[in-house]
């Protein structure tokens, strides 16, 4: 039977954190960078739409990032067990 390689939980966690940091950097520079100009335009001309869009964006990001971070933390646990 092959011996299961033991992984240090802190090292695994730091690795997953690094993966998350990479995803965040890509997200900040590409997605948010592109949204910036468009959001600024509706902020200047349509405050009600801006308010609704702002709430939808933060709620959506909350749900999506919750999914990603849960997945990463689950991976950390399963790798360190």
């Amino acid at each position: 039977m092959a011996r299961k390689k033991k992984t240090h939980p802190l090292r695994t966690f730091l690795f997953e954190l690094l993966v998350y940091a990479g995803l965040v950097v890509a997200y900040v520079f590409f997605v948010i960078g592109l949204l910036g100009v468009w959001l600024h335009r509706i902020y200047q001309h349509h405050k009600n739409w801006y308010a609704l869009t702002a709430l939808v964006l933060i709620v959506t990001q909350g749900v999506v990032l919750e999914f990603i971070t849960s997945l990463l933390l689950r991976l950390v646990r399963s790798r360190s067990d």
Binding site: L17, Y20, V24, Y27, V28, I32, L35, G36, V37, L39, H40, Y43, K47, N48, Y50, A51, L52, T53, A54, L55, L57, I58, V59, Q61, G62, V63, L65, E66, I68, T69, S70, L72, L73
Partner: protein, 316 residues
């Protein structure tokens, strides 16, 4: 990175790290963390009106992450949270109207009055929670020592099984017999008056409306000591309530043009992972220890307000 809406230039790494730290606090203690996020944004040149609105937007995203995690851990009492939202919103309006009335009456130094009230409340909460949690930990240690000396085994409490040296107050609140009486299954409360819950939420709301922020620093301990809700459930339920009340606040502030959603989105990328870590960490601590760790938080808030009062810079 340029943030066009608030006309500011901020390093996104600073925002991500700030969000991460506040996320850990929020996930662990069930507070919005506006007393930390506010000064952190103000310090890098975000105008005050944007500080308040942007902070609320970031709190919505972070609290969704932490509340979902707590829900998965069985720490959210949806029934209690929904009732509390009603009391809180009414309280927030009353608190905000109170400030407006003071201004209309021409009360001198309104800011100073609010600041000093804030400091007194925060220090009192901190001192009380420190005393209570220390008494509870001491009580548990003494009981364990006595059991060891007499040779009788003592039942080891699970992390979520909570007790408090102040339990008798919650029992008195439970005995208030004003219908309708309700049962909070998720909190393990057999019978409590609906009006008691609404009153606790209303008082928290007044603080929120009068002093700003989400007032989690008063609502979380109130749920534990007055309603007898276990600490873990109080943390999770408070976060659930924060999602709704902060969403309402975000909408109203954004309509007034006080939200830079770009800053909130960047900050939230750090807060999301911090909130997960904070929420997951509650699994490893007993209620009194979580409460004892909570003690420095209101003191940090008080120190920030004192600094603002002395320097003339109103940080929050």
């Amino acid at each position: 990175m340029d943030f066009l809406i608030s006309q500011t230039h901020i390093d996104p790494i600073y925002l991500v790290i700030t969000g991460f730290v506040i996320g850990i606090f929020g996930g662990f203690f069930g507070v919005g963390g506006s007393f930390l996020a506010g000064p952190a944004l103000f310090a890098v040149g975000v105008p005050m009106n944007f500080v308040v609105g942007t902070d609320l937007a970031h709190i919505v995203g972070k609290s969704i992450v932490a509340a979902k995690k707590h829900r998965a851990l069985g720490n959210v009492d949806l029934k209690l949270g929904t009732i509390m939202v009603i009391g809180t919103i009414v309280g927030v309006e009353v608190g905000a109207q109170g400030i407006e009335s003071l201004k209309h009456l021409g009360a001198a130094n309104v800011d100073r009055v609010i600041g000093i009230t804030f400091v007194v409340v925060l220090i009192s909460i901190s001192a009380f929670v420190a005393w209570e949690s220390w008494q509870t930990i001491k009580m548990q240690r003494d009981r364990k020592r006595e059991a060891e000396m007499s040779g009788i085994g003592v039942k080891k409490l699970e992390a979520k099984e909570d007790e408090s040296a102040f339990d008798h107050v919650a029992r008195k609140v439970h005995r208030i017999n004003i219908p309708p009486m309700i049962k909070l299954r998720a909190s393990g409360v057999e019978r409590v008056s609906l009006w008691a819950i609404l009153l606790v939420a209303f008082v928290g709301g007044i603080f929120s409306g009068f002093l700003g922020g989400g007032a989690g620093y008063i609502r979380m301990p109130s749920m534990v000591y007055l309603l007898g809700v276990p600490t873990h459930v109080a943390v999770g339920t408070d976060l659930f309530e924060v999602v709704i009340s902060a969403s309402y606040g975000t909408l109203t502030h954004a309509i007034k043009g006080n939200v830079d959603i770009m800053i909130a989105l960047v900050m939230h990328t750090g807060a999301a992972i911090g909130a997960q870590i904070g929420a997951a960490s509650t699994e490893y601590f007993h209620g009194p220890k979580i409460r004892l760790a909570f003690v420095p938080l209101p003191l940090i808030g008080a120190a920030i307000v004192i600094y603002g009062l002395l320097s003339g810079h109103h940080v929050k």
